[in-house]
Symmetry: C3
Subunit: 336 residues, 3 copies
């Protein structure tokens, strides 16, 4: 790929370009490592000192840093440098010409009853079953399975190995054995949703599992049957959501979070990594529950005491009572 001028970038993506518009850019790079033919961005004002040291040909900056940026060389000034950077990566990848082409890879196995928008792409060796709908401009990676009757909106991205519409985990007991409950629902995924690699979204038992518009899921996530996830909620890798739980809109769940079944999380709930949420949360906010790590020997000591916590509290209670009694006996003597 040939290099491109700053003028072309600013023309495509906007922003106020200062400096030599004819400078050639060959790559996008982080502030610390950007080279002489690279464009970079400053989105965190605390890193403003790096403006002095970066060798980048051009820095995308907020108006507050415009003056400092101009003092060192070319810059593009924009209200939200990180957003500008995101759009630049999109534009860059299109220029690279390695975006998936619309259409169905010949090795994919697509049921004749599936309806796939002609602007969507389906990658190599993916399986699209009967009754599936796939919206416009949606990119299905390689080796994805979308099972019968599931619906995927427009402009979604489904990474390789994802399984959408596998059976929910449902059984009735008959004595000691488990009798399968066939999962008769499906999965409904809104527009602009991203599904990570090897992530699994189970079909509903009777109704549907639903991901609202703008939901973003990382890799190796488990979404159980009948879960509902609200708009623009994002989950990092290795999260597991149990059956029939309802996650609100604009939530973030960090890596490894677990949420039990049949509960609700309010909109704007943020859960720290590896935390297990075991009851409904009606108040937005940040929630955490992770055992703080230590050098192993120290952990062993403290973990052993952890099992005596209730006893310790009882001992404190006793101490308080006995001390009060002792004080009562001492005080009158003091006064006398």
């Amino acid at each position: 790929m040939t290099a491109i001028t700053l003028a072309e970038i600013a023309q495509a993506l906007g922003g106020q370009l200062h400096g030599d518009a004819s400078i050639l850019i060959s790559a996008i790079a982080p502030l610390e490592t950007a080279g002489l033919a690279e464009i970079t961005f400053l989105s965190d004002a605390r890193l403003v000192a790096l403006l002095q040291s970066t060798r980048a040909a051009c820095v995308i900056v907020h108006p507050a840093q415009a003056e400092q940026a101009q003092a060192r060389g070319a810059c593009i000034v924009t209200r939200d440098p990180y957003l500008y950077f995101a759009r630049l990566t999109q534009w860059w990848r299109k220029r690279l010409g390695d975006m998936p082409e619309p259409g169905i890879h010949p090795s994919a196995v697509v049921h004749p009853d599936a309806q796939i928008d002609p602007t969507a792409s389906v990658g190599a060796l993916s399986v699209i079953e009967a009754g599936v709908h796939i919206g416009a401009h949606t990119r299905i990676g390689s080796r994805v399975t979308i099972e019968r009757h599931c619906v995927i909106g427009a402009r979604c991205v489904v990474q390789s190995g994802a399984v959408i519409g596998g059976d929910g985990f449902g059984f009735a007991k008959e004595g000691q054995t488990w009798v399968k409950i066939e999962q008769l629902g499906a999965v409904h995924i809104g527009d602009d949703v991203e599904i990570g690699a090897n992530t699994c979204i189970d079909r509903g038992a009777l109704g549907n599992t639903v991901l609202a518009q703008g939901v973003k899921l990382d890799n190796l996530i488990q979404i159980a049957h009948n879960v509902q996830v609200g708009e623009n909620t994002a989950m990092a890798a290795c999260v597991g959501i149990s059956g029939s739980t309802k996650i609100g809109a604009n939530c973030t769940l960090a890596g490894g979070v677990g949420v039990v079944g049949h509960i609700e999380l309010a909109d704007n709930t943020h859960v720290s990594g590896a935390t297990v949420i075991s009851r409904s949360l009606t108040e937005p906010g940040r929630y955490t529950g992770v055992y703080p790590f230590e050098p192993h020997a120290k952990w062993e000591q403290n973990a052993a005491v952890l099992r005596q916590l209730k006893k310790m509290r009882d001992r404190i209670k006793s101490l308080e009572k006995e001390l009060a009694a002792t004080q009562a006996r001492v005080s009158p003597q003091q006064e006398s």
Copy 2:
């Protein structure tokens, strides 16, 4: 699919039908949302009040709720409504005609030495290696890999993306480098086992990894080499079982549970979600070990103190000693 009469359902699945047998049913639905042409079930006696409000055409109920159910309309009375519901979903799906057909999808890659029962089904783009046996009526989903010499029983269900018989994780150290131990065992899976989407079951190092009859595994589970899982044990999503561990029969492991290697869990052991089991359990029962979550600021305060637990216990001990000494000095004066 055309609707079906209550009479047909009761004829196929049994139970005592009360009310108009000619009512047409078009779907199965939960009690809360069932509509006028839908059948539902009441398996939890605490929800009996919903009998008044449901619009369902027919409710499957226990004899204890039969009178109330009849008062509102048609019902099917049976000893175990939830089990009846499970059987109904199975019968319903067969009627829908979307059960996998017996036989091997033409896109699957099946080694000529593999033995697949003619009543079994193998989904699109699955890989079945040399020496594999697959039993009668077993359903292998799409994009499943079953590696060399693994054995799958009858009536199993293997969901999409599962990998059965990958190499166990075994290495010997030579200085700082790891030397691979080729995994010469296989995986043996009994009858009536379910394996979830993208779940991995590693082959044994020398002997076999074994899942007994009736085991049910959800999605994204890791079963390491040489693990043995007893009959009818069920594991929810994201569980990890380390090498050579032996899980008893009729156990349940909730989502995200981890079990270390080379230990044994007794029959009828039940482990709460996200708990890590680090030693053998010889007594059946329920075990839990999860950090209780809190609003982040409160968690930060308590987690900081957690690291001083042993010191706190020592301080309580000191207090007890000193208080006793103080009391000893006070008491005689009181008596004097």
Copy 3:
């Protein structure tokens, strides 16, 4: 496969053979269960008593156990019996003839621009995208995806279902919605690396995600974008490493470990299972942070108190103060 003599084994793999070199060996087996035609090994001196009871035809032993081993029958004496065993499994599997053949399975979908060493093997239904390099003797399993421009070294093993080079999880916020940051980097994997089944290694955002030589990853692991993993570091199943984190060389991460983003772990760091590492570790050593499990009822009691830890510490402080004050008042009287 026909049985083989001890002489042939010792000739192929070295070691000092004692006893009847013509004994026929049909399998490798653990010490406890080895039968009369099987070879086994003793790598843990604490198990030396088993030398008396094993029925094995031959035991691989350390010189320190040579005398005892010879007293019971044939043995092979070597400095490192476990390493010898590892090499024996490799040699054995080659004899079995079930090693993957070099070359590309006809069902794999390989981009014409990919460069695959002719000694490498690519399994059934794998997808190798444009610009990928795969080194000599590397074994790619079935149903693996290696996305555009990723590089895999020599003698690597990639298990079935792994996804190498999926998009990193990167978005900029625009109001409440997420704008995708196209991931323009790739994944670079050194020589002698093993990647487990259904493991995901995301491509870098701008630079590369890098696994150094000799890294070993188990199944269902998540390596986020721009992570770097040092030489010979091994991770057990279900580990998750967040973006831009740098793991040192010769580390071990046990199953289910989570590591937050943008931190560094020193060389020779060892993390216990299910521990969450939330800040950089500059000192090598073993780190642990897992809630100790208990019978559920006991856990409930202790977990409830856990939320009052800070209050408990404050109560201890108060007790200490008040007791000191009480003692001060008591002591002078004692002296008087």
